[in-house]
């Protein structure tokens, strides 16, 4: 298996995964979406809420705010060694904001005060609730580690997906230009003798097949390379994409080895 990185930043990545199977690419995708635990507020004690939102709606909004997570420092509560809550599995965050008598105020994720300096909202400017004059919210949110398969608030990977690498072959082209006009992604261009595609724009091909249909002499064909995938992914901010990929691969490894252990005892 080979990996060819096209784009990489803290929050998003695009790479080509080659010489592998669709099953592996999909396993990686699913691990990023569902099997990498993250922190999210999932218990809320509301002491005062006079805002326009019900407590439940407020709690949902709080839960969906991504919290920066360190994979090594925290564990899901039911996998923790403690009896009923310790700093490694339960983190308390408080939110206490009151609008004055003359002016309303927007409450942002940055107003959340965390008991652990390592745990902070990944973005500080997420509006939580707009308070009108004299309204206030006072609450405590309890964050736990959890898995994306249980609720979207624990989903660290966003829009992870892949497509097969397109292969465009041109043979016997008479330069009529019909395919160039019909391509919705504008990736074909007329060269001196026949139609050309640059390596870079080829990755943009959506495999729609319109160019094949437009060509009356069947000079162009678009097929997929079934062992190579263009993979795109983003992180919600709780991990960098680097950490997310590494953690996803480690979960796959762990699952595979426990599967091996089970099989060897049969």
């Amino acid at each position: 298996m080979e990996i060819d990185v096209l784009e990489l930043s803290d929050r998003s990545a695009k790479f080509i995964l080659s010489n592998t199977t669709a099953a592996f690419a999909n396993g990686l995708r699913r691990a990023m979406l569902a099997d990498v635990p993250t922190l999210a507020i999932d218990d809320v004690n509301v002491y005062n809420n006079t805002s326009v939102l019900y407590d439940e709606q407020l709690a949902l909004r709080l839960g969906l705010i991504p919290l920066v997570t360190s994979f090594d420092d925290f564990v899901p509560q039911d996998e923790c060694t403690c009896e009923d809550g310790c700093p490694a599995c339960v983190i308390s965050l408080t939110l206490s904001v009151e609008a004055t008598a003359d002016e309303g105020r927007m409450v942002y994720s940055g107003d959340i005060v965390s008991s652990d300096p390592k745990v902070q909202p990944a973005e500080m400017n997420i509006p939580i609730i707009e308070l009108k004059v004299n309204q206030k919210v006072v609450l405590e949110g309890v964050a736990h580690m959890g898995y994306g398969r249980d609720h979207a608030k624990w989903q660290a990977g966003v829009a992870c997906g892949y497509k097969n690498l397109p292969i465009i072959t041109i043979d016997g082209c008479d330069r009529c230009g019909a395919c160039v006009n019909v391509c919705p992604r504008n990736i074909l261009c007329l060269g001196d003798k026949f139609v050309e595609v640059s390596d870079e724009s080829r990755l943009n091909c959506s495999l729609c097949g319109l160019c094949q249909d437009a060509c009356e002499i069947d000079a162009i064909s678009v097929t997929e390379n079934e062992s190579s995938f263009i993979f795109t992914m983003e992180s919600d901010g709780s991990y960098t994409v680097n950490e997310l990929i590494i953690n996803a691969v480690n979960t796959i490894k762990r699952k595979a080895s426990s599967m091996g252990d089970i099989l060897s005892t049969l």
Binding site: V52, Q57, L64, V158, D236
Partner: protein, 62 residues
């Protein structure tokens, strides 16, 4: 209130809402603003285009 995350893909979009609202009010083109804010998928874009703010309507009945 504007959804914290996109219903479909899960991207955190609420952090771009106020910038979007401000720039639309200044007369900029919606599509260009969304591109500029990095909201590239149509699942996220439709939430910006279709959002109706209800806080001011509900506030008098608290």
């Amino acid at each position: 209130m504007f959804p914290v995350r996109c219903f479909t893909c899960g991207k955190v979009i609420a952090s771009s809402w106020e910038a979007y609202k401000q720039r639309i009010a200044d007369g900029e083109d919606k599509a260009a603003v969304l591109d500029d804010l990095g909201i590239t998928r149509y699942c996220c874009r439709r939430i910006f285009l279709a959002h109706v703010e209800l806080v001011d309507i509900m506030a008098p009945y608290q």
